[in-house]
C-alpha cells in the first residue's frame, strides 16, 4: 500500500516538477512583458483558436516583438471547450506562476466570467478577443473588449430590412444563450424600425432537419426570416433547406448576423448562400490598405488563406490595445493605469475605424451590411453594401 501511494505521488510530483521547470525556463529576462492568451487551440473550435493565434502573430510580424524596448512574450494556453473551472485554473497559473502582465483571448462567455474575479487581485487587465455577452464588461473594471456583441451586430439589420420593404418577419434561432440574445435584439430593432416579428421559433441546438421549420415560416406568411445559428455544419443544413423547400424562390428574404456566413464556411455554403444578407463588424474582403496588409500577414501565419475569419481581427486589435497599455505603463505592472490609458483610444483597424468606448470599455465600430457574392477571382465573399458607423453595444448603453 505504501509503495502504491508513494509511487503514484512520486510520478505526479515528478511530472508537475517538470512543468514548473518549464515555467521557470521561460521566466522573465531583464525587461520582458508576458502576455497570456487563452483560447480554443484544439478540439472542435480549434479553427477559432487558430485565428486568435494568426491575429496575434500578424500583429507581431508587422509591429515587431517589442514596444518601446519592452520585449513581448506570448504564452498560449489551450481551453478547447467552455469550461469555467479550467479557465480559472489556467488564468490563475498564468498570473501567479508565469507572472503575465496581461491576459487576452477567451472565446466563450463562461470562461471570461471565471477569470474576471481574479483581475483586481492579480493586477492584470483582460483584453477579450471574442466572448460576446454584454454582461462580461460589468463584471470587472479591468476588462476591455475588441470583438462585438450579438446585440451590436444584430441591431442595424432591423432598419436595413425595413428599408428593403421587408417588414413581416419570423425569427428562427438556436435555443441557447446567444440565440436568445439575437432573437431579443432583432425583435427590438425591427419593431423600432416599424416592422414586426409574427412568430419566434427556437430550435434545439443540434437540429439537423429544418424542413418543418421552413413549413412554419411559410404558414406564418412572413416576408423575411431572421436566423441565428452557431457557425459550421448546422448553418449549411439550414441554408440548404431554405433553398430546397422553395422559400428562397418564393421571394422570402433571409437575414442573419455574420456568424452564419463566416469566411471559413463560405466555400462549403457557396451557391446556396448567394444573395444572403448579413450584418457583421468585419469581412475579410473589407476594402482598405490596412486590411490588405493584415490579411496578407494573417494568411501567412495561418498557412491556409481559406481559414481566415473574424476572430483573427479581434486578436489583432487586442494586441494593438495591449501594446498601447504596455507603452502607457512603461512596461510596469499597473492594471488600472493600463486600462485608463486605452479608454477612448481610437485607431484604424482592418475592419475600419474603431474606438474603445470610455464608459463601457467595449469597442465602438462600424457594422456592415453584406451580401454573399463572388469576387473578381470567383471566390465567395461577404461583399459590403452598406455601413452603419459608430455602433456601440446596445446591451450596455442604458
Amino acid at each position: 500500500m505504501i509503495d502504491r501511494r508513494s509511487f503514484s505521488r512520486l510520478l505526479s510530483l515528478g511530472a508537475l516538477a517538470l512543468a514548473s521547470g518549464l515555467g521557470l525556463g521561460g521566466a522573465a529576462a531583464a525587461d520582458t512583458v508576458k502576455v497570456g492568451i487563452i483560447g480554443p487551440f484544439s478540439g472542435p473550435f480549434a479553427l477559432q483558436g487558430k485565428n486568435f493565434q494568426a491575429g496575434v502573430e500578424a500583429w507581431l510580424a508587422q509591429n515587431g516583438k517589442s514596444v518601446d524596448g519592452h520585449d513581448i512574450e506570448i504564452v498560449y494556453r489551450d481551453l478547447p471547450t467552455a469550461n469555467p473551472q479550467q479557465s480559472r485554473a489556467l488564468a490563475q497559473e498564468l498570473i501567479v506562476r508565469d507572472k503575465v502582465q496581461y491576459l487576452g483571448g477567451v472565446y466563450f462567455t463562461p470562461d471570461a466570467m471565471a477569470i474576471t474575479p481574479l483581475l483586481k487581485q492579480g493586477n492584470v487587465p483582460l483584453v477579450i478577443f471574442n466572448a460576446a455577452t454584454s454582461a462580461i464588461m460589468t463584471s470587472s473594471p479591468l476588462v476591455v473588449r475588441t470583438s462585438f456583441t450579438t446585440a451590436q451586430t444584430t441591431t442595424p439589420l432591423g432598419k436595413a430590412a425595413v428599408d428593403r420593404g421587408v417588414k413581416k418577419f419570423v425569427s428562427v434561432v438556436s435555443d441557447y444563450g446567444p440565440g436568445v440574445d439575437a432573437e431579443a435584439a432583432f425583435k427590438k430593432a425591427i419593431t423600432a424600425a416599424g416592422g414586426e416579428v409574427v412568430e419566434s421559433i427556437r430550435m434545439p441546438l443540434n437540429t439537423t432537419e429544418f424542413s418543418p421549420i421552413m413549413q412554419r415560416v411559410r404558414d406564418a406568411g412572413a416576408q423575411g426570416v431572421f436566423a441565428f445559428l452557431p457557425s459550421g455544419p448546422p448553418t449549411l443544413g439550414f441554408v440548404k433547406s431554405f433553398n430546397d423547400t422553395g422559400l428562397k424562390q418564393s421571394g422570402v428574404k433571409l437575414f442573419a448576423t455574420g456568424d452564419l456566413t463566416q469566411e471559413s464556411d463560405l466555400p462549403a455554403l457557396g451557391e446556396a448562400a448567394s444573395g444572403m444578407i448579413t450584418s457583421f463588424h468585419y469581412a475579410v474582403s473589407h476594402d482598405s490598405d490596412v486590411n490588405r496588409k493584415f490579411v496578407a500577414a494573417a494568411e501567412k501565419a495561418l498557412g491556409d488563406p481559406a481559414q481566415l475569419s473574424f476572430p483573427a481581427v479581434g486578436a489583432y486589435d487586442g494586441m494593438h490595445v495591449i501594446a498601447r497599455m504596455i507603452a502607457a505603463t512603461g512596461g510596469k505592472q499597473d492594471a488600472e493605469k493600463a486600462v485608463e490609458a486605452v479608454k477612448g483610444l481610437a485607431w484604424e483597424s482592418p475592419r475600419g475605424p474603431v474606438k474603445i468606448d470610455p464608459e463601457t470599455r467595449h469597442i465602438t465600430e462600424t457594422i456592415y451590411l453584406r451580401e454573399v457574392a463572388k469576387d473578381a477571382k470567383g471566390h465567395w465573399i461577404n461583399k459590403e453594401i452598406q455601413r452603419f458607423p459608430e455602433q456601440k453595444d446596445p446591451g450596455l448603453a442604458k
Partner: protein
C-alpha cells in the same frame, strides 16, 4: 442482515487492514499537503483536481463496487454544482452549508438516477445513464433564467471560511478546504466499502444470483449506493462551484462523465486509491502536455491512454499491485 462469506474472510485480519488503511489515509493527506508546499502557484488547478477526484470516487462506488456501467455520472456532479451556485446567488454564502446543499442535491439526483437506471441491465443501463446526463444538460441549457444557460452561472461570492479565510486569487483557502473535504469523504468511503453493506454491493457485482439466494433484495441496496454516490459527486460539484465562482454547462456534460470513467479505468476499478491515482495522473499529464504544446496535446494524451490500456489493463493501481507482488514474492498475497 446475515453475515456473508466475504465478510468473515475479511474479519480474519481486521486489525492489520485497519492499520493499513490509516496509513493510506495519512498518506493521502500528506501527499495533499506536500502538493500545497511544492506547487503554491498551481493551487487553482490542484483544487480542480480534488473536485474531479470526488467525482471519480463517486463513480468508483457505482462502477467499481456495484458493477453498474455509467457514462452519466456528471449529472450528479452538475446537480451539486448548480444547487450550490444557485443557493450562493440566493444569499446562502456559508461554504459548509453550500457543500451540504450540493451533497443533498447530488444525493436526490442520485436517487432519481438510480431508480431509472436500475430498471435495466448491461448496455441499456449504460444508454440510460447517457440519456439522463443529456436530459439534465438540456434542462440546464433551457432554464436560462435559473442557470444562466450556455453563458454559465456567475457572480457568486462565497463568504470567507470561518469568517476569516477568503477564496482569493492564490486559492490557498479553496485548496485546503477541498483537501479536508477529500480526506473526510475518503475516510467515510473506506469505512463504507469495508462495511457489511459494502460487501453486499461487491457480492452483487460478482454474483447477483447468489446474493439474492441469501435473501437480499438487490434494488434497495444499489439504490442506497446511488444515493451515497450522488452525495459524494454533489460535494465535488459544490466544491468546484465555490472555488471557481462560476458554474458552466460543462459540469453536467457527457464529456465530463466520459473523462471521469477514463480516469477511473486508468487508476483501476473497484479501488478507492485507484480512483485518486487515476485522477491525479490523468489530469497532471494532461495539464503538463497541454502547457507544453497547446496545439497538439490531445494527440499525445490519446496515445498515452492507448498505451496504458494495452500494457496495463488493470489500471495503474493494478500494475503497482502486480509490481509489489513480484517484489515480495513468497510473502503473503496482497489484497486487491
Amino acid at each position: 442482515m446475515t453475515r456473508q462469506a466475504p465478510d468473515s474472510a475479511a474479519a480474519a485480519r481486521p486489525m492489520r487492514s485497519l492499520g493499513r488503511d490509516s496509513v493510506g489515509v495519512a498518506l493521502v493527506a500528506i501527499a495533499g499537503l506536500a502538493g500545497y508546499w511544492l506547487f503554491p502557484d498551481n493551487l487553482s488547478f490542484l483544487t480542480r483536481m480534488i473536485s474531479v477526484a470526488l467525482l471519480v470516487l463517486s463513480l468508483d462506488l457505482v462502477v467499481g463496487y456495484c458493477g453498474i456501467a455509467s457514462l452519466g455520472q456528471a449529472a450528479l456532479y452538475g446537480a451539486g454544482a448548480y444547487a450550490a451556485g444557485i443557493a450562493c446567488l440566493a444569499g446562502v454564502t456559508e461554504p459548509f452549508l453550500l457543500i451540504l446543499i450540493g451533497a443533498a442535491a447530488g444525493g436526490v439526483t442520485g436517487l432519481l438516477m438510480g431508480t431509472i437506471m436500475l430498471r435495466a441491465h448491461g448496455l441499456p443501463q449504460l444508454v440510460l445513464s447517457i440519456a439522463i446526463v443529456q436530459l439534465l444538460h438540456e434542462a440546464a441549457n433551457k432554464a436560462y433564467s435559473v442557470t444562466g444557460g450556455s453563458d454559465g452561472l456567475s457572480g457568486m461570492a462565497p463568504a470567507p471560511l470561518f469568517g476569516i479565510f477568503e477564496f482569493d486569487l492564490w486559492g490557498r483557502t479553496a485548496y485546503l478546504f477541498g483537501l479536508a473535504l477529500l480526506v473526510i469523504v475518503f475516510v467515510a468511503l473506506k469505512l463504507l466499502v469495508r462495511s457489511p453493506f459494502g460487501m453486499v454491493c461487491r457480492g452483487l457485482k460478482q454474483d447477483p444470483l447468489r446474493v439474492s439466494a441469501l435473501g437480499i433484495s438487490a434494488f434497495p441496496v444499489l439504490l442506497r449506493m446511488f444515493l451515497i454516490s450522488g452525495a459524494v459527486a454533489g460535494t465535488g460539484g459544490a466544491l468546484g462551484a465555490i472555488a471557481t465562482q462560476v458554474v458552466g454547462l460543462d459540469s453536467v456534460s457527457f464529456e465530463l462523465s466520459a473523462n471521469a470513467l477514463v480516469m477511473l479505468v486508468l487508476g483501476g476499478l473497484g479501488n478507492l486509491y485507484g480512483a485518486l491515482i487515476g485522477t491525479v495522473v490523468f489530469m497532471a499529464v494532461e495539464h503538463i502536455v497541454a502547457a507544453f504544446n497547446p496545439f497538439h496535446w490531445l494527440t499525445l494524451v490519446g496515445g498515452l491512454l492507448v498505451a496504458i490500456v494495452l500494457f496495463a489493463p488493470r489500471g495503474l493501481s493494478g500494475s503497482i499491485d502486480e509490481a509489489a507482488r513480484i517484489l515480495m514474492r513468497g510473502k503473503r498475497r496482497t489484497a486487491p
